[in-house]
């Protein structure tokens, strides 16, 4: 818990956010609730991504694959299986897929892993595209999807779950094991950390929630086209939010999500033609100017002497 609430200011911040998000559907119009839903979605996606990628350093560029699998399951079982069952099933299916491919996939390291995960997401996307067109389906529409408040609170639950999961992992022995293998996998293994098992567990844990998120978001847009559900931009955005947030705990990514989603919304509404250019520029500026993320900005952590880059002393 110290991970998420290190002092009373953070506790206050999170309490306010929680309250605001909880009452939103009762006080605001559909548009604002939509923004809240988006924020909750990104929280769920980013926190679950961090369980593997931030903790172990295996940066996954294919997080959207679990999202898409979850969405597909809901679409395919629409009105044949009760919805809550389908959503839970979506999470289980995503976790199952992760468990099946995890062992060989996690043997690959570094940038190879990055592109491999991307390739995996694309492979699943195109396989489903092929299946859909082979079975004669042109597109799928979900008529009779639940209302916005239902969707909103389901996502709320998922976001809470993901934050809880990351907090738990981050402050547990399991999490420390993950961090150790991030710093030096061979050394960690020599020291007795069950590296292969830990990586796999992190991978599977991080897959379940995106599956359910995808399932719920399918209900939001009700028109399912494979290419748009398995959108690589989702994977990239998750990485952006986690890095912008910075830090090595559950707080950083939360900051990153809130910052980037609200900023995007603001820009998109007010500078509609320019906003992506501005967004890209802000991303670049951030990486160059604030390499430790937002968390690094707000927290003055003493940097160990060994790690301090030589240029600092010249400043």
């Amino acid at each position: 818990m110290k991970d998420l609430f290190p002092n009373r200011w953070w506790t206050l911040l999170w309490a306010c956010c929680l309250l605001a998000l909880a009452v939103l559907p009762f006080v605001a119009n559909a548009y604002v609730v939509g923004i809240g839903l988006t924020v909750l979605m990104w929280i769920a996606l980013t926190q679950s991504w961090c369980v593997l990628s931030k903790m172990t350093g295996y940066v996954s560029l294919g997080h959207v694959v679990f999202y898409g699998i979850g969405a597909y399951l809901v679409v395919v079982t629409w009105q044949e299986v009760p919805l809550p069952l389908a959503i839970v099933g979506a999470g289980l299916l995503a976790a199952l897929v992760a468990a099946l491919v995890g062992l060989p996939v996690l043997r690959v390291r570094g940038p190879y892993f990055v592109i491999l995960t991307f390739g995996l997401a694309e492979l699943v996307k195109y396989t489903i595209t092929w299946i859909e067109s082979a079975s004669g389906m042109a597109s799928r529409i979900l008529f009779g999807a639940p209302d916005l408040p239902v969707i909103y609170f389901s996502m709320f639950a998922l976001a809470l779950l993901s934050v809880a999961m990351l907090t738990w992992v981050s402050s547990s022995r399991f999490g420390h094991g993950l961090r150790s293998l991030r710093e030096n996998e061979e050394a960690a293994e020599t020291l007795g950390v069950p590296v292969v098992r830990y990586k796999l567990i992190a991978f599977v844990l991080g897959a379940a929630i995106p599956g359910m998120v995808g399932a719920i978001m399918a209900l939001r847009s009700t028109y399912f086209v494979v290419g748009q559900v398995f959108d690589p931009m989702i994977s990239v955005t998750v990485i952006a939010m986690a890095i912008l947030g910075g830090g090595d705990n559950a707080r950083g990514p939360l900051l990153g999500v809130i910052f980037l989603s609200l900023l995007s919304e603001l820009l998109w509404v007010n500078a509609p033609l320019l906003y992506l250019v501005i967004l890209g520029a802000i991303l670049m500026v951030f990486v160059l100017v604030v390499p430790n993320g937002l968390l690094g900005l707000f927290e003055r952590k003493p940097v160990p002497v060994v790690e301090r880059p030589p240029t600092d002393s010249a400043a």
Partner: protein, 301 residues
């Protein structure tokens, strides 16, 4: 068409070579940047797109044939690379971003991603998001039963020549050797006196220049828009990963391999399977060879 017909088809061979040679050119630039700087340039395809626009405007506004404009556009691409290196990336690499390979990797991913967004959307803003295409060298020639549109043949020849030229450069010239040294072991190269900064700058210039050149060639073959760069980035990454990161020669081979899989694979199954085959082959290859198909060289950490 029977299977044998397909395998022996000259027409398909031509198509595979055209596709493969373009992939090779794109992969080359990507490999140079990654090899020397360990950064994944996800904006590479967008530079290709810019090159395509360069050729397009040259042809439609100034009546300059794309093949003539090619060196100029490539040069402009190189200039962009140089400017970006000096302005941004040089700083990133000289220790400003803190400890850890992982940090540099994710940060550079984000940095190039930001660049990609800017390039795509600024182009859309200035040139409108409309599809662009033009007609150039569209007479069809026939050699021994194989039909070749002039522009596809030209693309194959130019891309092939450029790749060979760079390959020769890397293996013969002093600068080429220095580049390979930096790719293989950066700190050691630095110690023996190689000007690492110079090599990095050169790689950036060559990388962006070759991307722009590829763009010129691609613009002759079909239509493009500000958002059509991404597929080329992806293709480029698949190729360099398959060949082993930093291994420029293997990258060229992997590119041709990819062109072959794409063309013949589609012919043997169906066009719908194209991406399934491509990504399937890619994922399978990486799972079996976690460091790329041609890994054999010592990989520097």
């Amino acid at each position: 068409m029977t299977v044998l017909d397909i395998l022996l088809s000259g027409q398909l061979l031509f198509a595979a070579l055209v596709t493969g040679s373009l992939y090779a050119l794109i992969a080359l630039g990507l490999n140079l940047v990654y090899g020397t700087m360990r950064m994944l340039n996800v904006a590479h395809g967008d530079v290709v797109m810019l090159g395509a626009y360069g050729a397009y405007w040259g042809f439609t506004l100034l009546d300059i044939p794309p093949l003539l404009a090619a060196p100029v556009v490539a040069g402009l691409g190189g200039l962009l690379g140089w400017a970006l290196y000096r302005g941004i990336f040089q700083r990133m690499l000289s220790g400003g971003s803190g400890a850890g390979n992982n940090r540099l990797e994710s940060n550079s991913l984000l940095l190039f991603f930001g660049l990609s967004i800017i390039l795509q959307n600024a182009t859309a803003l200035v040139f409108t998001p409309n599809n662009r295409a033009y007609n150039y060298l569209d007479t069809v020639y026939h050699f021994g039963g194989v039909a070749m549109t002039g522009n596809r043949l030209a693309a194959l020849l130019v891309a092939g020549t450029a790749c060979i030229a760079v390959a020769v450069f890397l293996s013969r010239s002093v600068f080429g050797l220095a580049t390979r040294a930096v790719i293989e072991r950066r700190e050691a190269a630095h110690i023996v006196g190689v000007d690492v900064d110079y090599v990095q700058r050169l790689s950036f210039i060559l990388g962006f220049g070759s991307a722009a050149l590829a763009g010129v060639l691609i613009s002759m073959l079909g239509q493009f828009s500000p958002f059509s760069g991404f597929p080329f980035t992806i293709a480029g990454f698949i190729v360099i990963i398959l060949g082993g990161l930093g291994n420029t020669m293997a990258g060229l081979l992997a590119a041709l391999l990819l062109g072959v899989i794409e063309t013949y694979g589609v012919a043997l199954t169906s066009a719908n399977m194209r991406s399934v085959l491509l990504y399937g082959a890619f994922v399978a290859a990486l799972l079996l060879f976690p460091n790329g198909l041609f890994a054999g060289r010592a990989k520097s950490r």
